[in-house]
Symmetry: C2
Amino acid sequence: LKERPKTVGEVGEFELIARLESRCRTPPLPPEVALGIGDDTAVFRCDGALLLATCDIQIEGVHFELDLIGPYKLGRRAMAVNLSDLASMGGGPSFALVSMGLPACLALEGFDEIFEGMRDEMAEYQAAIVGGNLSRSPETLVLDVFMVGRASPETVLTRSGARPGDEIWVTGRLGASSAGLDLLGMYGASAPGELADLAEAHLQPRPRVREGQEIARAGVASAMIDISDGLASDLGHLCEKSGVGAEIHQADLPVADGVEDVARLSQKDMWHYVLSGGEDYELLFTAARGAGREVRRLADRMETPIRKIGAILPLDEGTWLMDAAGNRIPLGAGGWDHFGRDRGAEGE
Amino acid sequence: LKERPKTVGEVGEFELIARLESRCRTPPLPPEVALGIGDDTAVFRCDGALLLATCDIQIEGVHFELDLIGPYKLGRRAMAVNLSDLASMGGGPSFALVSMGLPACLALEGFDEIFEGMRDEMAEYQAAIVGGNLSRSPETLVLDVFMVGRASPETVLTRSGARPGDEIWVTGRLGASSAGLDLLGMYGASAPGELADLAEAHLQPRPRVREGQEIARAGVASAMIDISDGLASDLGHLCEKSGVGAEIHQADLPVADGVEDVARLSQKDMWHYVLSGGEDYELLFTAARGAGREVRRLADRMETPIRKIGAILPLDEGTWLMDAAGNRIPLGAGGWDHFGRDRGAEGE
């Protein structure tokens, strides 16, 4: 009996990445490339500085519903998710290229507003759209942004610098975006007033560009990543690249206001949103023990909450969540794997 | 009566580009950006060299049929069309990022082969894939490549340097790709043997990277563009950016072998393929009168045919095709406009 060939839907995103990585290993990277596949951005050397390059595709029906987000916010969001990747390296944007697949029925006014949103999001950083290409698309709107940014060779941060004993920190609060997404699913655009901020957090994420740059410049962090897949999953990426384990304390996790209320409405575990929700676009970083005072000073100056949530362990001690009762729960990737599995529930 | 809002399907690609360009004009370009929207690539300064950045999205059902092209050739083609944009500036590739939208039913083997094709196409130039992102896509496979390349500030070529009196040159022969596409439409993968090369020219374009670099290095050209939309349309782009008119001679146009036979089969005018077919990925460039000997020497050395097809005119003399009988026919954009109109027939 001949086996049916496997499809991409039957394996996880991370297996796909491993497969393409093994295929892209040859030829060797050109000398100007400092960092290839496997971090938040690629890095290449340029004029004494480092350039960062990243891209992120947004597909209608997968990443957004146009009637819920609206064209202007879609444009801002498409840029924001790329800005967050630059932020996680301690960099800021220089320019972007935009590829679009346009269904013929898209309103011309909507097309204009997408670009106005993209432009306004970039203008906050004096960065601009410098090129791209337009195509028609049979049914779904496709928006792919390629962003180039800058970082300093002295302060650039990657996923791979965390060492056992380092403490783990996170900016802002977690769970808002995925709780907001569930709210939008339940109520559409008319979420209960006191929870509207959560829907907004999902539709209009605020990338931590200034925070990422300040954390890098202060020289306190050993590794950094943005929380796009979910805390558990992104901590897993950082640990994998650094060759370490980690322990985080549930009681110390900063939960966004309203997430508990949404959990009651959706009948999900609140910690699902906080640990595996994804798309919060907060920054997770590690810093040597003893840097706590400096981190707190930074948080005060930026007026951005930064919370210590755990510590890095040696690799062979694994990755754990310590719950309120003191139980150590193995922390799987558990984030948002785009393929094959549902959001959150997998715990691979 | 309220008017129904216009859609993107009701206007041409070039109106869409004009609309987004006007929206992206603010903020002013960052100082490192040497060239924004409007040429084959964006250009930015880096380390004494110039970096080129371009992107090109390929959507299943619009740009390719996966069962006709096959995953390996699709991968090569996705890179080739971007390489051609770099070639038209006189540059070569450094690295690429790849965004993909994957339908769950895509065979894992096909996924692997797409990356093998992309890798092999880049390896011909010692260039590599350094990053990207994967997403699922509801139905259609989407493949978007962002490519960064290098050019020399002394020799980089744009669309805007053509001057009245310059002669117009084109590499290779024209019409093969669009004739091949029609063949594939008529016969699928089983085109008559002697015409199979045309189908192959469509499926597997060979970007003129080496030729573009040599033409730039020789310092003979005043402006250059690659023929992706079709000769008439791309000549129109070059004339618009240079602020000039042009006259080309039908009798001098290099027609690819077999195009006449396909025209008989498809009952189309052969000149439709040659003038408006698109996707030939040959280079069109202008050079001062008197540079002909140098251009021919270059052609001999590269073993690539380069044909003189006309001359640049002052703007107010318009853009014309001189037919075999000596009639001057106004030459509209006439290329492949992705929106609103069918391929070729428009003559705007």
